[in-house]
Symmetry: C2
Subunit: 328 residues, 2 copies
């Protein structure tokens, strides 16, 4: 198996991206192909002992930044690490693509210039796999489609169900629609129409509507929403957690006694941070495109990149693309 | 001024509701009218020295619970404390109504049986006034309208602007639309269409799209969304904060050393809880109905009820209903 890693993806690339690839290569017998500026990649690789590792480097002269617009990337950056990396998957030279780069650009290049959609898939779904109180929830869509039809949401549920079953090893994933109340009378028109489709579907374990609280507490394995609502949902959780942890840091250093207290609770805080750490999973799949693509957070560190590479490995082993193609 | 308080509103009513009314009556020269089960209210009142306070009691034989459906409340509960309380405002016997009860029922009774909408207002807006890192943000709509047209959102912005200016004393409130990105290219169709209306409006200080993070950090005074998205937004913040504080409690009591640490950081934690405490404001207005209605959280304690009553007082003093009627 060959897994392509976008060496120019993360906010501080290529440092974490290359180190993550090295860490992954130490743990797997598969080949990691780093795509990006060859000189910069080799400089980073030189920091590690890599002679026994199966790591290849493919040069890409262009780099996509977080500020690049998806439309312009399609026209002007077809020599970027993203484009070349996904083309390697499309052409059969590699099995999966991992990036911590610009999500909109990844989506555009995957859909329009390289991998394209799986037949019969109406829209791709960006996903997040986030920690809840008892495990992990896969959320789809978190931003690819701001305006959705019920049929899109049904397909997001089907694809997430396949991913949760075959890659995340959840036997019968509980699927819910994110809504403003649990009752079937709640929800906007999109939710109400999608409920009918999911209720009538024989192969999905649809448990109804879920509010944010139930989702965060882990009462559902899959949470489905349009990309606009899902984006607000995920970003609200992230922003609230960031704010609280920042306040806790500030306030506990405001006096010698609270500082001591802050020191003493550090192990507890570390446990909490580990429990809610998105980097433990590292990345989440872009579902619906015709090739395995795992997208990590721009803030990814080496551990996150490593774990994202392992996600890709599991997805390839689970034959996720073929399964989606056959099932939908 | 007479302010009606729904004595049967909060989850543990009438205890906090009556105590909150007593606390408010101690701080104001206005009359508080408690509506609900007379016997129960008098039992609660007997716990305080109220002989010099201006508190009236009006009996209501029915009580609305959190499980009552809005449609059934209209048909079957017109002798409830909510119905009688809002009818007192509608008939001119009182100036404002405060409740910590069932939000859907409050909305239905206000709109359909008692106060009705202000002329030219298309839809009412449920609001929340929540703490951000530097002050407070007023959010509208948080649940009255799951499917919205751009014209509704424009009116929500206009009404929230009047409330923020005249009641919250914010000179030129910054208004933003909650979206999945700051750029004007982001947002769903509703947000993009509403942006055009707000951009062209001469009297509103529209600052564009805001993500959850910017809102929580206090970069906007007013955040506008449809009731579905707004509900998810507010509940995501609440659920995340609850989860983190619960985890912190659990983990800091897991060993003697972290327990000591937990004890030492208590003053810091108290500061944080005070900073993010929704009860400091106590309640938020139901905008668009033809009378001042302030809705508090079901979990309200006496302090929250007291502060909600003061909110009502400020709203009446600011002549909020007349201002909205004249401006829209």
């Amino acid at each position: 198996m060959n897994i392509v890693v976008d060496a120019m993806g993360s906010d501080t690339a290529p440092g974490p991206d290359v180190e993550g690839a090295v860490l992954a290569a130490q743990e797997t017998h598969h080949t990691i192909i780093l795509v990006g500026d060859k000189q910069q990649i080799n400089n980073e690789l030189a920091k590690f002992s890599t002679q026994h590792l199966s790591i290849d480097v493919v040069h890409a002269e262009q780099r996509i930044t977080m500020h690049d617009q998806p439309s312009q990337v399609i026209r002007n950056k077809n020599k970027s690490s993203m484009h070349i990396g996904m083309a390697l998957v499309h052409d059969g030279h590699a099995d999966a693509f991992v990036t911590a780069g610009n999500t909109g650009a990844t989506l555009a290049i995957a859909m329009l210039s390289t991998l394209h959609l799986i037949p019969h898939i109406k829209r791709p779904a960006l996903t997040a796999i986030f920690p809840n109180l008892t495990g992990h929830t896969i959320a789809a869509d978190i931003g690819a489609n701001t305006d959705c039809h019920p049929e899109y949401l049904l397909q997001f549920a089907q694809m997430a169900n396949i991913y949760a079953t075959s890659v995340m090893q959840i036997q019968t994933p509980r699927i819910a629609l994110l809504s403003n109340g649990e009752e079937e009378s709640k929800g906007n028109n999109l939710i109400k129409e999608t409920t009918k489709l999911l209720n009538n579907h024989p192969n999905l374990h649809f448990i109804g509507n879920a509010e944010p609280k139930a989702t965060i507490e882990g009462h559902t394995d899959i949470i489905i929403h349009d990309g606009f609502t899902g984006n607000i949902f995920i970003k609200s959780i992230e922003a609230t957690a960031d704010m609280l942890l920042q306040l806790l840091k500030e306030k506990t250093t405001s006096s010698p006694l609270t500082s001591l207290g802050g020191l003493l609770i550090k192990p507890a805080l570390r446990q909490i941070l580990k429990q809610i750490d998105p980097f433990e999973i590292g990345g989440a799949p872009l579902l619906g495109v015709n090739g395995v693509v795992i997208i990590g957070h721009g803030r990814s560190n080496a551990k996150a990149i490593k774990n994202a590479i392992h996600q890709a490995e599991h997805a390839v082993n689970a034959n996720i693309i073929a399964t989606i193609t056959e099932s939908i």
